[in-house]
Symmetry: C2
Subunit: 127 residues, 2 copies
DNA sequence: CCGGTAAATCTACCCCGGTAAACGAACAAG
DNA sequence: CTTGTTCGTTTACCGGGGTAGATTTACCGG
């Protein structure tokens, strides 16, 4: 299980795949182009590279490719998060969270939910 | 102020720079080689690339280069964290922290300190 | 049957991180 | 003076992300 490193656009493609489950290259191009224009062939190239890597697969429906994600979102999220955690924060969850609290603005209700979450986590000492 | 993208080894070099303030290329090579062997010329090449990017500078002392970091650790940390936050967690601090709590094992005392930190953050509503 | 349309493939760049050998300069020891 | 060591510089290569034009393939409508 190699960590599977994904680039910026590749991640965006995977996210579209995860949201919709089954999409054509054209759909991906359209959705990506809403943010910044991108050539259809570029998307196709990246999809081929993703497929070569085992991150996606395609089925042929009506002579057009329908792509499906193979790599789980949870896995990619996990490896990306752990990557930042270890490389930048030396593995300290406290360090990362402290940084987020200090440098990112957080809505008060989010903060409240966070406190609840941590409390619940603390309760799970004795199962 | 471009985000300044750094690779894996480049980040390690910057971290050594940040720890020591002023180091020679040799010191960096030695320190990096404790983890995984790396050629001295590789380190020098990366240092040149970092300098070309404005991340470091060098002074000449006794005919050898002494490198100093120009880019602040806080800035790099910040951009890396925000990068993950926006690209993977859609900007949701809650999402990222929740992920960390769920998937990373955290020492009980770290959890306690986290709760304190969040409480203190909550108090700063009315200054 | 023919031309348009749309999809897929081929091919070719550029950039940059990482890797390192090869070369050159300068000094230190003998 | 010659040789070896230690720097720094030059140069080259690989891999992979990103980009996209050009080309082929296949269908569909007139």
């Amino acid at each position: 299980m190699t960590p599977l490193r994904l680039g910026k656009v590749q991640l965006q493609i995977m996210q579209i795949l995860w949201r919709h489950g089954r999409v054509t290259a054209r759909q991906i191009t359209d959705e990506l182009s809403q943010q910044s224009p991108i050539a259809h062939s570029t998307v196709q190239t990246l999809l081929r590279k993703l497929e070569a890597k085992g991150a996606v697969a395609h089925e042929v429906v009506d002579r057009t490719f329908v792509f499906v994600p193979l790599q789980e979102q949870a896995d990619v999220t996990e490896s990306a998060a752990r990557d930042l955690l270890t490389r930048v924060f030396g593995g300290s969850v406290y360090g990362l969270v402290a940084h987020l609290l200090r440098h990112e603005k957080i809505a008060p209700d989010e903060l409240a939910r966070l406190r609840q979450l941590i409390d619940k986590e603390g309760q799970q000492k004795k199962p």
